[in-house]
Amino acid sequence: MTLPLLAVEGLTVAFEGEPRPVLQDVNLTVAPSAWTGLVGESGSGKSMTALSVLGLLPHGAQVLGGHVMIEGQDLLQLSPDRMRKVRGSVIGMIFQSPRSALNPLMTVGDQITRAVRHHGGGKNPERTALELLRRVQIPDPELCSQAYPHQLSGGMCQRVLITMMLAARPKLLIADEPTTGLDVTVQAEILDLMQSLQQETGMAILLISHDLGIIAEHCERVAVMYGGTVVEYAPVQEVFHRPKHPYTAHLMRTLVETDRPVHPSDPSPRLLPTPNSTVGCRYAGRCPHAEVACVTELIRLELVGAEHSVACRRHAELAGLALEVKAGTQARAALS
């Protein structure tokens, strides 16, 4: 296996005064020149992980332990000044709701030119900006560069953000829900664009999304987060077809279940609070296979297959989970 570009090791982050850390022992690697997916429901810590990597944690959040290694240096040890140099040039980021990530009072062209200049963009930053706009397939770059963000569609704003990210030529792009809220046709175009830029520049992409469809189509490896920790990390085929963690198996089952008409008598999902302690499995409260030991023992992400890690103490006994998913599919197919 190639050396990872980014390695997050045992990252633990907590808000001041909160008994339970928002991130608990997060382990994750991103291979160079590949798409890695990060999935989980809202509040599972996906965005918090991204913000920790970028050193942009919100006020009141503190790193309690762990490392974020990229190119042999631990980002958590860097001074704010050095970290500012890492952002953009080593790690780029694009966000959900691209319009709110842009300055509403500056033309798009000025904002891109600024980014180009900041990253030492040659003799004529204005021209570089236009070239970059052309590279993200904006039809009329001259016209677009004179526009203000509110004059552009959401899809165009996301292209502008991608342009600014490209100006810095990062090695890793973190894309946090980059297409949420965009039309499906525009979503497909943005993802296509990211794919071609990835191939062209060889950058790695960490794609954060709750849409398993996007993850399945683009990512090579997927990390599944639940309750502030990574519960499973494996190649995409493994995660979708042979999940080992009960939560992942549940996710895959809901995929099958949402693919049929809504029925009013379907049971509501059990939403139980996760235990407050730092030991025990965060999913134990909702897990149909939980035992007492699942709550009292320390549970960590372990390598259980060639490239497959899972944080479940019963994963070996529950090897039939995948079969359950399949059986469910077949049963439903037989019914319909």
Binding site: G154, D183, T185, T258
Partner: protein
């Protein structure tokens, strides 16, 4: 045959801004039967929300007719509309901006009950809370203290508390999590089955409407380009735009590679409406005849599409021996 609950006939709506005319709706016609759940999809800017606002008469259309339960209310004055709104409600896209931030959930849900003089509002409040599966403990909270799913339920409780016959939902799942989406859709289905509610669900997300709606309308640039039973549209989409839309949905299976129908250019501007098929400038199969207006051709039982390709489907049907 049942009489439709709502009929929209050749609705047009134009806005004038800075010397330009925005043609938001260009002759939309649709009818909804009582007890139906109907979906309306299309990309942003296609006029979905304008249509929703015209239907509940927050906007007055430029031309066309709106008929609810046999009554033409297209130009009714505000006072008269209040009576109609007892039967027709709307749930807006973003509950955080649609709910008064300084009111408690109790005040928010009670307001329509008082306005429409519901007898014994307290017991109705308790019943509605139960229906939308909200605990009474949230009644003292304000919108900012509620989760996204709870806010959406408060917004729905406001709409259904007065027992309307028809509810328009504008992007009901846009602001909530995937796991809550299923429970919200299940709630809508339950209310439809128990109270015979009729819905129009507007969304840009096909997977939301797919499993809850009985029928689907596909809109493009202020026009309905395809309509039909949900199953019929998903199994045999006919208009090129519908095919583009359906083929753009990512498939959550890494072993499946989907074939995408291509789309050209940027989303159109509603200030300049092309002649004929509105999708023509972006269609990879467009031909000269697409510049002529395309009627809705019948391509299957209750399935219509306004596309020249649909006409050949119709001909094929006619040629086939009965």
């Amino acid at each position: 045959m049942t009489k439709p609950l709502l009929e929209v006939v050749d609705l047009k709506c134009e806005f004038h801004e800075r010397g330009r005319t925005v043609h938001a709706l260009n002759g939309v016609s649709l009818s909804i039967d009582p007890g139906e759940i109907v979906g309306l999809v299309g990309e942003s800017g296609c006029g979905k929300s304008t249509l929703a606002r015209c239907i509940v008469r927050l906007l007055t259309p430029t031309s066309g007719r709106l008929i609810f339960a046999g009554q033409d209310y297209t130009v009714w004055p505000q006072m008269r509309l209040r009576g109609l709104r007892k039967d027709m409600q709307i749930v807006f896209q973003d509950p955080l901006t649609a709910l008064n931030p300084s009111w408690t959930a109790r005040q928010l849900i009670m307001e329509p009950l008082h306005l429409h003089h519901v007898s014994d509002p307290e017991s109705r409040l308790a019943k509605v809370l139960d229906e939308v599966e909200l605990p009474a403990s949230i009644l003292s909270r304000r919108p900012s203290q509620l989760s996204g799913g709870q806010r959406q339920r408060v917004a729905i409780a406001r709409a259904i508390g007065i027992r309307p016959r028809f509810v328009v939902l504008d992007e009901p799942t846009a602001s909530i999590d995937m796991s809550l989406r299923t429970s919200l859709l299940r709630l809508l289905r339950k209310l439809q089955q128990e109270d015979g509610l009729t819905y129009l669900i507007i969304s840009h997300d096909l997977s939301t409407v797919r499993h809850i709606c009985d029928r689907l309308f596909v809109m493009y640039l202020g026009k309905v380009v395809e309509e039909g039973r949900m199953h019929s549209i998903f199994t045999s989409p006919t208009h090129v735009y519908t095919r583009v839309l359906l083929s753009s949905i990512p498939v959550p299976n890494p072993s499946v590679r989907r074939e995408r129908v291509p789309i050209q250019g940027e989303p159109p501007s509603p200030t300049v409406i092309p002649s004929g098929c509105p999708f023509r400038p972006r269609c990879h199969l467009a031909e000269l005849e697409c510049e002529q207006p395309q009627p809705l051709y019948e391509v299957g039982p209750e399935h219509f599409a306004a596309c020249r390709l649909a006409r050949s489907v119709t001909l094929a049907h006619a040629d086939a021996p009965a």
